[in-house]
């Protein structure tokens, strides 16, 4: 297992994030309590990871390293871009808040560790490597959720997240071990050789346990119950980042395991995914309808959107496979921009739905951005979310399976079902009279800047879609 120049280039994003992670910690020790230095370093680090992944992608760098356990391809690099990009906005959003806690370097280090774990994760082709990378990405995220010591909910959310997360990890590990036991190898290519024909009961058990473990991590119903508490308690930047960056990476690695490790078992796992998708969409939307707290509403909305992405997983069969892979790529990117934006607006306005009343008069630019995010989350064209759903519906229609048609039908129904709660915010912002609460929060420039940039990305997603779908076509996964 020689370390060559090639393999160092392949590991560039990970090496950069490790380097900056150490630098930020050192800045904490020697920086004399100046949060600005560590924030700058963390932002620079995320940018550097983004840039390195972009350069690798632009030069079509690809290959398999370290005995085939680590792979660089268009697919992995694409997700590294999403992870690093969302981390950058998370750092910007955390700048002032983490400075006020006095522990900025520690918090920012956690963000960079999640980046490290998630970027490793999307490149892993080895079952145990995957498990280690997942843990590397999740363990810091428990701390991120519980980081706000001034609020009790933060500790409570962190605790719930930790306990369910640990259970999920053990279920996942159990599943992976069973799969390893059946196939005698942890390499996905070897696993693929044994997951053919009719599966042995142990193999099915391993598959189901593994998917359940992932369902926990992806907050898919019925394993979603930690999500609202964790996202409500977490600092805004943590909720915004964890709901898009590491989650996208988890979707990516699940896609890789299923497509590379068990393509012949597709009839089994697409059926499981179809049921998960339907339950998750309905649970997410029906619970979101009842929320008055915007954080909880967005948490349930993230459950619902997990369901939409799982619908693309259900369509990974027949003629729909290529489009379903594209759908996952496009949807995760779309969800990253629109959901991150919506979460960051909470920092500028507040988490009570009433604090949005009349916002359009108090702060028209923020209100317009929030309106765009909400409309995009519904899937109104030509905003970001529309294209994600478009691709999922197309993939589903081409899969040629009745069960997937039902899933697509459920997706259409759920889209309409989600209108009242997203538009409830728009209604409050525009139609209600301002209260004394409106626009009470100050919010700093970095958050404002991030929100505007994300709003522009949400709006212009239709133009980004051309390069994105081209990238997705060259993903290397198929």
């Amino acid at each position: 297992m020689a370390v060559t120049g090639q393999s160092i280039v392949a590991l560039l994003p990970e090496l950069i994030s490790t380097g900056f992670l150490i630098l930020v910690l050192l800045a904490g020790v020697f920086g004399g309590g100046n949060a600005g230095i560590s924030t700058g370093l963390a932002a620079l680090g995320s940018l550097a990871v983004f840039a390195s992944a972009a350069v690798l992608l632009a030069t079509s760098f690809s290959g398999s390293f370290f005995g085939g356990g680590y792979v660089v391809d268009g697919f992995a690099l694409y997700f590294k871009l999403i992870i690093a990009g969302s981390a950058l906005f998370a750092v910007l959003a955390a700048a002032r808040w983490s400075g006020s806690t006095g522990d900025a370097p520690e918090y920012l280090t956690l963000i960079l560790s999640v980046v490290l774990g998630a970027t490793l994760l999307v490149s892993m082709r080895d079952l145990f490597g995957i498990f280690l990378a997942i843990e590397l990405a999740t363990i810091p995220s428990y701390a991120m959720v519980a980081f706000d010591r001034s609020r009790r909910e933060s500790a409570e959310g962190g605790m719930k997240y930790l306990i369910t997360g640990v259970i999920a990890s053990s279920v996942l590990l159990y599943g992976l071990v069973l799969i390893y036991g059946v196939s005698g190898s942890a390499q996905l290519s070897d696993v693929a050789k044994t997951f053919t024909g009719s599966l042995s009961p142990v193999a099915v058990l391993g598959l189901v346990l593994m998917i359940s473990g992932f369902a926990f991590k992806l907050s898919a119903a019925p394993f979603h119950f930690w999500t609202p508490d964790a996202y409500q308690g977490a600092p805004t930047s943590a909720a915004a980042f964890l709901s898009v960056g590491p989650k996208a990476a988890t979707f990516a690695v699940l896609l890789r395991i299923l497509l590379e490790g068990m393509p012949d078992a597709a009839p089994t796992w697409t059926a499981v995914m179809a049921f998960l998708a339907i339950i998750t969409m309905f649970v997410g939307n029906l619970f979101a309808l009842r929320q008055r707290n915007v954080r909880r509403m967005l948490a349930y909305s993230s459950v619902a959107h997990s369901g939409y992405i799982l619908a693309a997983f259900a369509a990974l069969q027949g003629g729909g496979t290529a489009f379903a892979v594209q759908a996952v790529l496009i949807y995760t990117a779309a969800y990253a921009v629109m959901n991150m934006g919506a979460f960051l607006v909470i920092d500028l306005v507040g988490e009570d739905a009433k604090s949005y009343n009349g916002l359009v008069r108090a702060n028209p630019a923020v209100a317009a951005s929030m309106g765009l995010f909400m409309a995009a989350l519904v899937g109104i064209p030509p905003l970001a979310g529309f294209f994600g759903k478009l691709w999922i519906i197309i993939a589903g229609a081409q899969s040629g399976s009745i069960l997937v048609y039902v899933v697509v039908g459920a997706l259409v129904v759920n889209t309409v079902l989600s209108v009242p709660y997203y538009f409830g915010i728009i209604r409050n912002m525009i139609l209600e009279e301002p209260t004394t609460e409106t626009g009470r929060k100050e919010g700093d420039g970095a958050v404002r800047f991030s929100v505007y940039v994300l709003a522009i990305l949400t709006t212009l997603f239709g133009l980004l879609i051309i390069p994105l779908s081209a990238l997705a076509g060259a993903s290397g996964l198929l």
């Binding site: 594209q326 409309a375 519904v378 109104i380 064209p381 030509p382 478009l390 519906i393 197309i394 229609a397 081409q398 697509v408 039908g409 259409v412 889209t415 309409v416 209108v419 009242p420 538009f423 209604r427 525009i430 139609l431 239709g462 879609i465 051309i466 779908s469 076509g473």
Partner: protein
């Protein structure tokens, strides 16, 4: 290229509105100036290319998403041109009639212009996905126009409107996607005649598309979102809401459902015609019972939309031409009536029919034009609505005799409630002493209604002005569906 520019000018106008200083006179003149540009372009297109709208100068075809064969494809044809022109025309009228809007004027005009982008775009789109995108672009500005600037009941009305029509359009999109996937293109010109799909597939796809379009029209019994929205809206929003938006549904029927899925819609056509008749008869009866003048006009508008459905379903030259024409004439007369209701309500302070009476004595011009609008609505010869309703009934009768006869009965019903309304509102003794003091519609109001009345008369006397433009496109549809 001209078409694209015409569609995009209102978008620039919307941005301009938001940048201008908050001064009422300036905003009104600027909005009028911006709105005039698409109208001038549409008029130019009529005179320069009216004989042959299929020229390259009017169309554009740029691939947008390669892997799905979705493109930015726009172009004009006789089916859409009338409504394309009317959208530009009614936007000007709406701005002229927007005197009742005083709050947040710049945002109001901006929303109006964004809606105009969607309306112009729908009638020019030649790609299914683009059609859907423009279809939805109208939704949010309309939601805002009703929800922000409407009366007390505006909030539930606006959200109801949004959810209903969003449900319809989402279901319609599912149908579009199924069609595009099976035929491997979303280009309307390539899809003509069913795109090589089997009859079963066409029927399965036509069902969701028709459902979505009929909600938009709305066809009774899918109309329950409509009344609150119409009654709550400011007058100028009503002009677009009744003049243009229902035609998004009927135009989709004539432009998309029928020619692209000829075998698929065939089993549904008798029911579409029956929906049309139900609209006509139900609309008339319910209009008769309305205590509120605006609600009466709203139901009258639902009723006469039924003729479009009947004519479109007929599948023959007379009926289809009538349906395409009726889209325009319906827009003209309903806009006229809604503006006049606004004028009357502003003078008298009420819209209740029982509290009005004898207004002709004090408001000869407004009263006279109201009478003209009402006579147009009941299909008086010499006015545009007569031509189109007559053709729709004739065409409908040829194909579906029962529905045709019932629709003709509907004209009598509409005469009943409209004459009753005229008798109560503008004729008879003056109902209240206060009405002795009110004045006639002023020049600012006349300028928004007189063009509508003039066009109603001109198109009534010279229907060939419009039919000549639309006939080639109708013939194309007929050749696809095998009608005569």
């Amino acid at each position: 290229m001209i078409t694209t520019i015409t569609i995009l000018i209102p978008l620039l106008g919307a941005i301009l509105m938001l940048l201008l200083p908050d001064e009422e006179r300036l905003l009104r003149y600027a909005a009028l100036g911006v709105a005039a540009v698409p109208l001038v372009f549409a008029t130019y297109i009529y005179f320069a290319f009216g004989g042959d709208l299929g020229v390259d100068a009017l169309s554009q075809d740029v691939t947008w998403i390669q892997s799905l064969n979705i493109g930015y494809r726009v172009g004009l044809d006789g089916l859409g041109f009338g409504m394309f022109f009317l959208s530009a025309f009614l936007t000007v009228i709406a701005i002229l009639a927007s005197r009742d809007v005083r709050r947040n004027l710049k945002q109001y005009f901006a929303a109006l212009f964004v809606a105009e982008v969607g309306m112009l775009g729908v009638f020019a789109a030649q790609d299914l996905i683009l059609f859907y995108v423009f279809f939805e672009i109208t939704l949010i500005p309309m939601y805002l126009l009703v929800g922000v600037w409407g009366d007390e009941n505006r909030r539930p009305a606006a959200i109801k409107f949004f959810i209903y029509t969003f449900l319809g359009s989402t279901v319609m999109l599912a149908g579009f996607l199924a069609l595009g996937i099976l035929a491997d293109t979303y280009s309307m010109s390539a899809l003509g005649g069913g795109g090589g799909l089997s009859r079963t597939a066409q029927v399965a796809i036509a069902a969701p598309i028709l459902f979505g379009l009929l909600i938009k029209v709305p066809a009774v019994p899918l109309h329950s979102w409509l009344l609150d929205v119409y009654v709550s809206s400011p007058t100028s929003t009503n002009v677009l809401l009744s003049g243009v938006l229902p035609k998004l549904g009927t135009y989709g029927l004539i432009k998309v459902a029928i020619p692209l899925l000829p075998q698929g819609v065939e089993p549904f056509l008798p029911y579409v015609a029956a929906f049309g008749v139900v609209n006509i008869i139900y609309g008339s009866f319910v209009a008769f019972m309305q205590p509120d003048l605006k609600a009466l006009v709203a139901y009258s508008s639902i009723g006469t939309l039924g003729f479009i459905l009947l004519g479109a379903a007929s599948g023959n030259a007379v009926g289809l031409n009538g349906a395409v024409f009726q889209q325009v004439s319906h827009g003209l007369y309903s806009a006229l009536l809604f503006i006049l209701v606004g004028v009357i309500a502003a003078r008298t302070g009420t819209r209740r029919i029982s509290e009005l009476g004898g207004l002709a004595a004090r408001m000869p011009w407004a009263g006279g034009l109201l009478a003209l609008g009402a006579l147009a609505a009941m299909g008086l010869p010499g006015l545009a609505v007569f031509v189109s309703e007559f053709m729709s009934i004739m065409g409908g009768y040829t194909t579906f005799p029962v529905q045709g006869v019932l629709a003709a009965l509907g004209i009598i019903l509409s005469a009943m409630y409209l004459l009753y309304m005229l008798a109560r509102v503008i004729f008879g003794p003056i109902e209240r002493p206060a009405y002795e003091q009110i004045g006639d519609a002023g020049p600012a109001e006349m300028v928004s209604v007189v063009p509508l009345a003039v066009l109603l008369v001109v198109l009534g006397v010279f229907p060939a002005l419009l039919i000549g433009v639309q006939r080639p496109a109708v013939d194309v549809v007929l050749s696809v569906i095998g009608g005569s």
